[in-house]
């Protein structure tokens, strides 16, 4: 799956807000929609959301920064998430995470210099009986071993 995000565009941002601003407690819904469209939540969107929902800019900024999911800048072309929670730890996830870091030359939570791959930890995909597990651009993968991980990393680097 290739990321096909739109570049930030104020009119499009306003359109997204208008789609959701009548919902009860719409802030997270709008932030998710922004990220879905642009790949991250562009800074200029924050005051626009605040104004549409009659909130202060600080309130929206506070929500934006509270949740791990929301990105402040675009991710790499591919996002590889490795589950780092206990069930995957028990099934050899620590060694696999170290292997992925070594192969990509970056620590978890970073993007490669060529902007191809973002490597992130995730705390539980709910695939704990087929651990260790990962998610590449929304596609779930279980029963990871060295070979399967290497294949995932290679796929992400393409």
């Amino acid at each position: 799956m290739m990321s096909a995000y739109e570049p930030w565009n104020e009119a499009r941002g306003a359109e997204i807000i208008a789609e959701h601003d009548k919902l009860e407690g719409a802030t997270l819904v709008i932030l998710h929609a922004m990220q879905e469209a642009f790949g991250y939540v562009p800074e200029p969107a924050i005051p626009m959301i605040a104004s549409a929902l009659s909130l202060s800019r600080a309130e929206v900024h506070g929500v934006f920064t509270f949740y791990h999911d929301f990105r402040h800048e675009p991710a790499g072309r591919h996002v590889l998430k490795l589950c780092r929670a206990e069930a995957c730890q028990a099934a050899g996830g620590d060694a696999l995470a170290a292997r992925a870091e070594a192969r990509l030359g970056i620590a978890l939570g970073n993007t490669t210099a060529d902007s191809r791959v973002t490597l992130e930890p995730i705390y539980c995909l709910g695939l704990c009986a087929t651990a260790p597990s990962a998610m590449l651009d929304g596609r779930v993968v279980g029963r990871l071993d060295e070979a399967r991980l290497d294949a995932l990393v290679a796929e992400a680097q393409r």
Binding site: L28, A91, C128, V140
Partner: protein, 518 residues
Amino acid sequence: MKMRIYVPRDAGAIAVGADDVVTALEQAAEKHGLPIEIIRNGSRGLYWLEPMVEVATVKGRVAYGPVGPADVPSVFDAMASNGPHALRLGLADEIPWLKRQTRLTFARCGVIDPRSVKDYRDHDGYKGLERALTLTSDEILADVTASGLRGRGGAGFPTGIKWKTVAQAQADRKYIVCNADEGDSGTFADRMIMEGDPFVVIEGMTIAGVAVGATKGYIYIRSEYPHAVAAMNAAITVARRTGYLGERIVGSNHTFDLEVRVGAGAYVCGEETSLLESLEGRRGIVRAKPPLPAHKGLFGRPTVINNVLSFAAIPFILNNGAKAYADFGMGRSRGTMPIQLAGNIRYGGLFETAFGITLGELIDDIGGGTLSGRPVRAVQVGGPLGAYFPRALFDTPFDYEAFAARDGLIGHGGIVVFDDSVDMAKQARFAMEFCAVESCGKCTPCRIGSTRGVETINKIISGERVTENLAVVEDLCNTMKFGSLCALGGFTPYPVLSALKHFREDFGPVPATLQAAE
């Protein structure tokens, strides 16, 4: 006649290749010129056998697993000829691991097509709601109370009492909220039921709405579960179209509608008040209680907030009567618990059974020990906030009170198995680290205590003044346990202290004076 084949759409099955199996099956069918119908069911929860493919026969559904795409041509031949195959498991319903369970909540999961309300109805679906619509609010509440159902999210609060409080509250509107923020590692029952039998969650929430007089419900699903989000949204659309959601549901005078909201990666939002804040569009900061959500919940209105499994247990209770449910279990833990076996385990998956089964039976007998083949050293029960138990405590029965008596908790019913390569000091540090990262920051014991905890355990691991620093950790844990606003800070001491108590040897040498005293 078309050959009817079942391949799960469950994320756990997809993660090990179920979608590729579907493609391969379609190719095999085309090659043979045999028409097939593929139904994407949920998972039956025997994850070491996933992708588990089933074919309908006159005698019942015959299962094969684990089926990889490369196995498909030969499996297809075996299906078409009803012949032998190395992966053939016999009739799915007769698989011993499945047969010895008591599936009340998960009766349909893996059996039906999760997008078909007709299939749901053909398997006793919506009978609970239909009966509820003939009862008064008090009668529904009496049934739920008499069933002995306690909150399956982990806190174990009696569901009937919670509902009654909301029913009695006066307000212009009330809400039903389903907590599907299943963040505990080792748990996946919520995900499975949402993907495999979403209508049971909808039915349970609808019954709650009818009972307490609420017309709107929200299902708050974590963003890590995109397949569950899709499954619930698809089911809600079908339920609306068929008159099970919306105005005048099933021809009654009741209105009830549902909406899915997606979380954003904050573990603390599994805590009910934090979840409500998040639903309102705010930071997931924990609220002080009282007021209880039953009095002032979502948008300040009386709110029933329950876990997915609590709602999913309701249709059975309403359809079969409170006693049929309460007849299972032990002590004050009535009914069944969908237990999840995970981590380094040979036969991992979902095992629904009456309360009272021992931890040892679950790990050794049902789970078959570790996948690595090494000895089991520790099991964590109840997620990141649950205690680590050694083999010496394997006689503990699965029961809220029995676990509490041994300084543990059953939480959401997840069990993560570790073999003897585990370093328990590292696991204790992880518990503190996780709390530090996920703390909402509102209360000091959780916010600061967890950070100090990481630092102190690091000192212990590096051998720095071990005895003194262990005392600091214990002191920190006490402060967190009794001073935190919610279970995140309050329960993080469980994994830490249990690791210390049962696996002291992993925290550096015990000083000679202490050894002498023991």
